[in-house]
């Protein structure tokens, strides 16, 4: 397989022709066998990761389990940021608005209506998606740095509203949220391990939705928008509905992340949807590798680990360490964590999720 390493370099498409086209043929025949290998390997890896994630409560203490749960909820928020930033090419700082909307909605439903987890997720996702529809209708008319600024404004606006609205506890935050239950009249999930499994479930469903969208015609068009929006126009596609649909889907997923977060912390304050959270989410995407879903998820885990766990050992200098981490990452991993693998394996020509 070493020969392929040189041959199928992604840059080879540029302007080399003729001769090169002919010499490729024998390669392709070999490509099929190596292809099945690269379909199987990721599946095995995925199975192992799922197994490890699911079994964490069996051998971790409550505090680390809570940390792992926060990683998953934050990772889902980061995935929603990646859908816009990495996949569609619209860098955003506004997903915290929908994250917060999902969290507050789930919390309020928990306090006033029902402690059923499914109802809370549905309400949180619905509220976040509706807000994304109305705010996105304006935001996606812009692009690039203007879009970034508009989404920053949306995030800050929701932050300000949360900070002053007494229904959601204003700056004190929303407290007294009961533990979620899974069936009507069932036992509330009080043990850290059970709550973690619930968060893991929400995370996996959110990830699955993101993955399915990515593989759908909508996902195809989203990637097309990133690579060349005007070219989509030129082949007859109006891109506004594509971008708005992407924005609403990403908003809904961010809302799900918020419900998962609040199910675990049972408390939510304006600080949880502040600018620093938005910035960390965007940086997790960069760190993990924009455009792949799993890369940013790992980036999110690294960010939470450094901020919440490692910083305890260095006198709360977590933010400083994150800064150093990002500078190092930008220099050594220009394509992020996912890109490190991508570069080594680009030989096979068929990863890049």
């Amino acid at each position: 397989m070493e020969a392929r390493t040189v041959r199928d370099d992604p840059d080879a498409g540029a302007d080399v022709d003729g001769e090169d086209t002919k010499t490729r043929d024998p390669d392709r025949d070999r490509g099929w066998s190596s292809r099945s290998r690269h379909v199987v390997l990721p599946r095995v890896a995925l199975g192992v990761v799922l197994l490890v994630l699911a079994s964490l409560p069996l051998f971790l203490a409550p505090y680390p389990i809570g940390l792992a749960g926060r990683m998953l909820a934050f990772a889902l928020l980061v995935i929603s940021v990646d859908l816009l930033t990495g996949v569609t090419g619209m860098p955003t700082l506004g997903q915290v608005a929908y994250f917060g909307t999902g969290a507050y909605t789930a919390g309020l439903v928990g306090i006033h209506i029902t402690d059923n987890g499914f109802v809370q997720v549905a309400a949180g996702v619905g509220a976040a998606a509706v807000l994304a529809l109305f705010t996105g209708a304006i935001a996606v008319r812009t692009s690039g740095i203007v879009f970034l600024m508009v989404t920053l404004a949306i995030g800050e606006l929701v932050h300000q509203v949360a900070d002053s609205l007494s229904v959601v506890g204003a700056s004190n935050g929303l407290a007294g949220i009961p533990a979620v239950t899974l069936v009507p009249g069932g036992e509330p999930l009080l043990l850290a391990g059970y709550v973690y499994w619930w968060v893991l479930g929400v995370f996996l469903v959110g990830l699955l939705v993101a993955y399915l969208v990515l593989k759908s015609p909508l996902g195809r068009s989203m990637r097309g928008v990133r690579d060349g929006e005007q070219r989509l126009h030129a082949i007859g596609q109006h891109t506004y509905p594509v971008k708005l649909a992407a924005y609403v889907v990403a908003g809904g997923i961010a809302g799900a992340a918020g419900t998962a977060w609040v199910a675990q912390t049972r408390f939510f304050s304006p600080g949880d949807l502040g600018f620093d959270v938005a910035a960390f989410a965007l940086l997790s995407v960069v760190l993990g590798g924009a455009g792949t879903l799993w890369g940013p998820a790992i980036g999110a885990a690294v960010v939470v680990l450094v901020r919440d766990w490692l910083s305890a050992y260095v006198d709360g200098k977590g933010a400083l360490m994150l800064g150093v981490l990002f500078v190092v990452a930008v220099y050594t991993l220009p394509r992020g964590i996912a890109g490190a693998r991508w570069r080594r394996r680009s030989a096979t020509g068929r990863d890049t999720a």
Binding site: A14, G18, E19, R220, S221, D227, H233, A234, H238, G349
Partner: protein
């Protein structure tokens, strides 16, 4: 409109970019099923012309009619839906999409072209269907760009220098594909530097200088008068 109704009728088109005027009143017709080549030196406005017809560059004045319908100043997707497809300069395939996705993204429901039909025309693409756009050779990218344009089921195809950056043998292959397409009754407007390709494909020649059309004739007539052609194109 008087006389024979043209599929593409451009009248006195003026366009440019911030502060500089590139097209100074271009008029050109392409009839249904006709293949026209637009020639001219670098920088005379050929690409701007194609992009203005497509609605990617805003026209300052003048008109673009497609099948009698005024599409001047309309968005590119409106022009595309009116039956005009573009194969842009430098191919511009979607690098992060596979060959198949590059084609599927352009498919029109109920259009006469399907992905399978494109594969039949260019079997090379079928072999490469799972490769990313960025992993193709220049010739394959060109085929993909042509296939993508065909899937818009156009009645007129605008090609901006399809030979650009391709090895001579590949240019020949692309030329054969274009000749086949022109025979099916698809109208073609092709901007070219490679005269051989242009003359093989086209019936009629239009020459552009400094943002306006200075010569129009049949290909045969144009080739007969070598001295004139040289003067117009400045090739030596």
């Amino acid at each position: 409109m008087t006389g024979e109704k043209a599929l593409l009728q451009v009248e006195d088109l003026v366009a440019g970019y911030a502060g500089s005027r590139v097209l100074n009143g271009v008029s050109l017709r392409v009839r249904a099923g006709e293949a026209v080549t637009l020639l001219g030196r670098n920088g005379v406005g050929k690409t701007t012309f194609i992009e203005t017809v497509m609605g990617m560059v805003k026209a300052t004045s003048g008109h673009v009619y497609v099948d009698g319908r005024d599409v001047t100043g309309k968005q590119p997707h409106v022009v595309s839906n009116a039956g005009v497809a573009i194969v842009p300069q430098g191919r511009r395939v979607f690098a992060p999409l596979t060959v198949e996705e590059n084609l599927e993204i352009a498919v029109r429901k109920g259009g006469e072209w399907t992905v399978e039909r494109v594969y039949d025309l260019m079997p090379r693409l079928r072999e490469r269907r799972t490769n990313l756009g960025s992993q193709l050779s220049g010739g394959e990218q060109q085929m993909l760009a042509i296939g993508r344009a065909l899937l818009c089921s156009p009645r007129l195809m605008l090609l901006d220098e399809p030979s650009d950056g391709l090895a001579p043998t590949i240019v020949e292959q692309v030329g054969e594909i274009l000749i086949d397409l022109a025979r099916t009754g698809l109208a073609v407007l092709i901007v070219e530097q490679d005269l051989r390709l242009a003359f093989d494909v086209a019936d009629r020649v239009a020459v552009m200088t400094k943002g306006s059309i200075v010569h129009e004739s049949s290909v045969a007539e144009f080739r007969r008068d070598g001295a004139r052609a040289q003067a117009l194109l400045g090739v030596g």
